[in-house]
């Protein structure tokens, strides 16, 4: 009887592991430099069936870690851990964006950016920017963080600390050191950390049986406001994309995110930390990009920087709308329309303008916005006509014009009053029309006739308007 390993081969099992590479000669990762130091631990012989594999304790990796990554040892609550510390003068720019601008973002602005009241009392220099490099994106107990970057603003410098997990058994010391570092802060800043980094770290804290209060600190996730503003222009709102297209910073030689887990697994087998140099750099740049991004968001809310791009300005308008800053939102929409918007955003901007105007009681101006939208003759024209009809019905008491507008809306949606079914848009229109005709008759206005023509005439009835 065949042994089980051979039978697994026969079952074609090895190839079923999604990303399981071939046992030897894997291509596609950066070539590894030759071992250069005598002290380096022997590479784990991963290819033998039952590897003896002593784990890569941090004592073993420390000399290399110091030599190649300029790292150091730090003593954490659960034993020694490995960390790389850097500091950058805040006067540095990332692309066009000075890092120092983040220092001017006060609690009020933090609260607005995060739409979270717990941020209002916070001081930006008491916040930890955090970003994890992980062994995958799928979550669950088998996905772990092997590099956790923490950054903060200290006077006129930006300090970064990157905690590194040299091998699985060191995880408890690694996690404890991260917890200790975070405990000194009042809040967290991340990019998508609410749904990714924090839940993942929660799992790691739980598995290493360490308290995780630090993960429950007030949390400013920059993903959501960024998406609000830039999603209309950018294909993806990943941090890298914003860094490039908003902050104007282009990375040289950046390592693509999807390859990072494999680089860590390669390091585990070779023990060569140089494999990961690019990952450390990538992580530091992500931290700096977040610092820069907070500054940029602050500038936009302070109207210190006005986007020169219609879609961005429209996005900013929607953010201001959410924050209840109606006047500034209206200004943003108006400017966005002037700068130019693609047709669908144009309609959406006009709808938002009209709604905001009506809500603030400027009904005539709202009607003007609906009228502009009706003239666009886009997908929203019917809605605009109905809103205008409401305006004529309730504000102007001009039932005839209101009925006329409703009829035009009917033509746009294909209304045939005698064939409508229940609860369709057509049916609602038909009921509205019937009501208006009744009101018009009662008010002694012109008797109504159905003037179904082939061409929708938006202009005449509006000319009689305000």
């Amino acid at each position: 009887m065949a042994d089980r390993q051979r039978r697994l081969d026969f079952l074609d099992f090895g190839r079923r592991g999604a990303l399981a590479p071939e046992p030897s000669g894997r291509a596609g990762v950066a070539p590894r430099p030759e071992p250069s130091t005598e002290n380096r631990p022997a590479p784990a012989t991963a290819l033998t069936a039952s590897p003896p594999s002593p784990w890569i304790g941090h004592e073993a990796v420390l000399p290399e870690f110091v030599r190649w990554l300029d790292g150091e040892e730090t003593v954490g609550p659960a034993g020694p851990a490995l960390v790389v510390r850097r500091s950058y003068p805040a006067t540095v720019r990332l692309g066009r964006q000075p890092l120092a601008r983040a220092l001017d973002v006060d609690g009020a602005r933090l609260r607005q950016i995060g739409r979270d009241d717990t941020l209002a009392q916070l001081d930006i220099s008491r916040l930890a920017f955090i970003d994890c490099e992980t062994t995958g994106l799928s979550g669950g107990t088998g996905t772990l963080a092997f590099l956790v970057g923490i950054a903060w603003l200290d006077g006129s410098t930006v300090v970064t600390e990157q905690y590194f997990l040299p091998d699985f058994p060191a995880e408890r010391a690694f996690v404890a050191a991260i917890g200790q570092s975070l405990d000194g802060f009042d809040g967290l800043v991340s990019f998508n950390g609410r749904s990714f980094d924090v839940p993942l770290l929660e799992t790691r804290f739980a598995l290493t049986k360490l308290p995780s209060e630090c993960l429950e600190l007030p949390h400013l996730d920059l993903l959501h406001p960024s998406r609000r503003i830039w999603k209309h222009r950018l294909e993806t709102c990943a941090l890298g994309s914003i860094e490039q297209h908003v902050l104007g910073h282009f990375r040289d030689d950046d390592v693509p995110g999807w390859i990072i887990p494999q680089l860590f697994f390669d390091y585990l087998r070779s023990g060569d930390v140089r494999t990961l140099a690019q990952v450390f750099e990538h992580n530091r740049l992500d931290l700096l990009a977040m610092v820069a991004l907070v500054g940029r968001l602050g500038q936009m809310l302070d109207e210190e920087v006005v986007p020169d791009d219609g879609p961005d300005l429209y996005g900013l308008g929607t953010l201001l709308d959410d924050l209840g800053e109606a006047e500034r939102a209206l200004r943003a929409y108006e400017t966005a329309l002037t700068l130019g918007l693609p047709p669908d955003l144009r309609s959406r901007a006009l709808i938002r303008m009209a709604v905001a105007l009506r809500r603030s009681g400027r009904r005539d101006l709202a009607a003007q916005a609906w009228e502009r939208l009706a003239r666009e003759r886009g997908d929203s024209a019917a809605r605009a006509l109905v809103e205008l009809a409401k305006h004529y019905e309730h504000e102007e008491h001009d039932y005839e014009t209101a009925a006329d507008l409703t009829r035009q809306a009917g033509l746009l949606v294909g209304l045939r009053p005698w064939v409508t079914g229940p609860d369709t848009a057509q049916d609602q229109l038909a009921r509205r029309l019937a009501r208006l005709e009744r009101k018009a008759r009662r008010a002694g206005q012109r008797p109504m006739t159905f003037t179904g023509g082939s061409e929708v005439s938006l202009v005449e009835p509006l000319a009689a308007g305000p």
């Binding site: 009887m1 065949a2 042994d3 089980r4 390993q5 039978r7 697994l8 026969f10 079952l11 074609d12 099992f13 090895g14 079923r16 592991g17 999604a18 990303l19 399981a20 590479p21 046992p23 784990a44 991963a46 290819l47 033998t48 069936a49 039952s50 590897p51 594999s53 002593p54 784990w55 890569i56 062994t135 995958g136 994106l137 799928s138 979550g139 669950g140 107990t141 088998g142 996905t143 091998d167 699985f168 058994p169 929660e202 799992t203 739980a206 598995l207 887990p261 494999q262 697994f265 585990l268 087998r269």
Partner: protein
């Protein structure tokens, strides 16, 4: 219509009417099982007595005293023993676990329990019952379902606060165990694990579930809990063995029922022979339709079980015609099977309970314990393949009072004919054993990956009772695991549970899109890929809820089939071409003058052509080609080959017939020997096998990697041949029929006697060698 009720026939009248069919040449055997009254026990007292609030709540529901089996089971469970309860449908088995679980939670509000049901539908059904009971008790006991339909925002609450989490094995596998840190409160306080419908955990599914339970126990141990397992099952032959294999622990068995049973008539209906020479009987589907139509006409609540999805849809079409003719609402006849969307199914279940649906045509999907209320009659089209399934299906008919009727209509299939001739086999023999093999390498290795993802394995660790050092090393080599500090850690950018389906080899179903109105495409169902290759190929007529749809295009890569409603007078039936290659031979031995062996085999299956078959007359009116990629199966196989000295005694065309006959009869007998569903096995014949160069008949295991059938057949070959010979000689046909050796392709040859000659070669030398 006031006069109609007086003309209605009762169940008893219909039994008499069925008997009269004997004049038309049918063979009808009627068995009467009188009802039995209840045997009661007492609620346990002493150290493990029950909370008075539970007893009060049960009293409000009319339950004063437990049936004897309930009292017995509850006492054992309260004493902390793992217990399996084996009772027929509707004997109140949920009381057996709800009472001790709720009692434990009333005593300790932190206590938790997991209920596992094989399907989401059953979970929903049980949750409703549980909610009712909890409400009566009036305590703050939180019960939730947790499955693929649980909204994301509700999941957190379930994880943190649920006293009882009702779920299914698949969700445990992909949604709970790999995220166990989020469930730490559940796992650290877990008292009970309830596994209902245990009999459905057989074969491949059961082998997977046994490993999910191994993983569950591993996680519980990590959090310091050791739950008591409560299993419930419909009647099966080996409840203790199956339960022990599932939970790998000692278990106590309660296998009697104190519940009352209804008066029941069981009718075995064998349709008349229409062609004695070919041994052909009238079709079971049309015969059953006639019987079911009478039940529809007489307004008797009925369930019709058909064996395939296609048969369900045909039967539904026919019975709706009959309902229309009898002036009954067409909507009172409904279909029910896999492939219908969940809310469609819920609606049908509700209709059955409230009486707006009078007749339901189902695959075995309704065999399990979904509460559809009491029906009066059950028509089973074709023997369901196992004794256990037959009783589960027949148990669907039967209220507490009055008589009920179960009719089993035999098809020409050999097993059916065997049952029709020997009803006592079904009536007296104990039901099948549930076989599973948690150590199937394919299955075990899959769960080693999942287990490593959940928690690292120590050197020398086991999964359940299986040593897995070699598998850990294997995955280490393939870089899925990393070894350091005497442990194996998951080290791949992947989520293994998601790639491993507990139910079949393939996870990607084909979605069926109705494009009758091109502007408004509607998703009407889904189907697994193997099913799709024969039912959703281009130009197939796919029948859904009785409505014919023509398949416009099957997009294999996008997993979509586009269909439109049509009204045509034919249906389509596709053929599957199978090829088999032996990879490795594990053992061989003589079988009389023949040879037997077993080993690992690679199969490829490909849908090739389809036929258009006219409705009602079932005549062939056309065919077409199917162009789809082939499907692969790596499994274990048993085979019999014919050495040259045997081959020489047959003419070439004779040999072909004998070989096909042998394959046919072995396919019919093997499920009886193995006590498995015929669909779990496949048979393939080769006139010249590439492996041996000899004529060969293979029986292969339908499960990737096999669950032990091939080895078992190899070991019991003599009995296999003896049973085959018995079936052959007992068959009433002249020269071979579908019930024994299959239809002879060459009418000048006698396939029956040729196969008999071959079977005797397999016995002859055995006799001489012994003698």
């Amino acid at each position: 219509m006031p006069s109609v009720p007086s003309h209605r026939l009762s169940v008893i009248d219909l039994v008499d009417q069925l008997k009269r069919a004997e004049r038309g040449g049918a063979s009808v055997r009627v068995f009467h099982r009188p009802g039995a009254s209840a045997v009661y026990g007492d609620w346990p007292t002493g150290p493990h007595d029950l909370d008075a609030r539970i007893l009060a709540a049960l009293r409000k529901r009319g339950i004063e005293r437990p049936y004897s089996h309930q009292a017995d089971a509850i006492a054992r469970i309260l004493a902390g023993r793992n217990t399996v309860v084996v009772t027929p449908t509707a004997s109140g088995k949920t009381i057996c676990y709800n009472v001790p679980v709720l009692s434990a939670i009333l005593r300790d509000p932190n206590a938790r329990a997991i209920y596992v049901f094989p399907t989401k539908a059953l979970a929903q059904d049980q949750l409703a019952e549980l909610h009712g009971l909890v409400e009566e008790i009036g305590a703050d006991i939180k019960t939730f379902t947790y499955d693929g339909d649980t909204p994301a925002n509700a999941r957190r609450v379930v994880r943190l606060a649920g006293n009882i989490v009702v779920t299914n094995p698949d969700m445990l596998h992909t949604g709970i165990l790999p995220h166990h840190t989020k469930w730490h409160r559940l796992f650290s306080q877990l008292r009970y694990v309830v596994i209902d419908e245990m009999h459905s955990y057989r074969g491949l599914f059961g082998s997977h579930v046994a490993n999910v339970i191994r993983r569950l126990k591993r996680i519980c141990a990590y959090y310091g809990s050791r739950p008591c397992f409560i299993l419930c099952s419909a009647t099966i032959g080996n409840p203790r063995e199956l339960a022990q294999r599932l939970i790998e622990d000692d278990i106590e068995v309660v296998d009697y029922s104190g519940a009352p049973t209804s008066d029941k008539h069981v009718v075995f209906f064998n349709p008349p022979v229409v062609n004695r020479q070919l041994g052909i009987r009238a079709g079971s589907l049309l015969t059953a339709r006639g019987i079911a139509a009478q039940l529809v006409e007489n307004d008797i609540p009925t369930i019709v079980f058909a064996r395939s999805r296609l048969a369900v849809e045909l039967m539904l079409t026919y019975l709706r015609e009959d309902a229309r003719r009898a002036l009954k609402p067409v909507e009172s006849v409904r279909g029910y099977r896999g492939g219908y969307l969940p809310n469609e199914r819920r609606e049908i279940e509700r209709g059955l309970r409230d009486g707006t649906v009078r007749t339901v045509v189902s695959t075995n999907a309704l065999e399990l314990g979904i509460d559809i209320g009491g029906l009066d009659a059950c028509v089973i089209v074709g023997y369901p393949g196992t004794i256990a399934s037959t009783w589960q299906q027949a148990g669907r008919a039967g209220r507490r009072s009055g008589s009920s009727l179960a009719v089993i209509v035999a098809s020409s299939a050999p097993l059916d004919q065997y049952i029709a001739h020997h009803p006592e086999y079904l009536l007296h023999r104990s039901p099948e054993n549930g076989l599973l093999n948690p150590d199937n390498l394919y299955v075990l290795a899959s769960h080693v990956k999942c287990g490593a993802f959940e928690l690292p394995f120590e050197d020398g660790a086991r999964l359940g009772d299986q040593p897995i050092g070699d598998l850990l090393g294997y995955f280490g080599e393939r870089r899925l695991l990393h070894h350091s500090g005497q442990r194996w850690y998951w080290s791949a950018d992947a989520f293994p549970a998601e790639e491993i389906s507990l139910r079949s080899a393939s996870t990607d179903n084909i979605v069926i899109v109705d494009q009758t109105e091109p502007a408004k495409p509607v998703v009407i169902g889904e189907m697994d890929r193997l099913g799709a290759s024969t039912m959703l190929h281009d130009e197939a007529i796919y029948i859904h809820e009785g409505q014919q749809h023509e398949v416009l295009r099957l997009d294999w890569d996008e997993h979509k089939a586009y269909v439109r409603r049509v009204d045509v007078d034919y249906y389509t039936d596709a053929e599957l071409a199978v090829n088999l290659e032996v990879i490795d031979q594990f053992a061989d031995a003589p079988l009389g003058l023949l040879q037997r062996a077993w080993g690992e085999a690679a199969l490829t299956a490909m849908a090739t052509v389809y036929k258009k078959i006219k409705l009602h007359t079932h005549e062939n009116v056309g065919f077409g080609r199917i162009r789809l990629p082939e499907d692969n199966l790596h499994t274990s196989a048993y085979w019999i080959s014919l050495p040259l000295e045997v081959v020489e005694r047959f003419e070439a065309p004779e040999l072909q017939e004998a070989l096909l006959g042998l394959g046919h009869i072995i396919a019919n007998v093997a499920p009886l020997r193995l006590m498995c569903d015929p669909r779990d096995l496949g048979v393939h014949t080769q006139v010249r096998a590439p492996h041996t160069g000899l004529p060969t008949v293979y029986v292969y295991d339908g499960v990737p990697g096999g669950i032990g059938f091939a080895e078992r057949l190899f070991e019991t070959s003599d009995q296999l041949i003896a049973s085959a010979r018995e079936l052959l000689t007992e068959c009433v046909c002249e020269s071979g029929c579908p019930s024994c050796v299959g239809v002879t392709m060459d009418p000048t040859l006698d396939g029956k006697s040729l196969t008999l000659r071959l079977l005797d070669r397999a016995r002859e030398a055995e006799g001489s060698s012994r003698g």
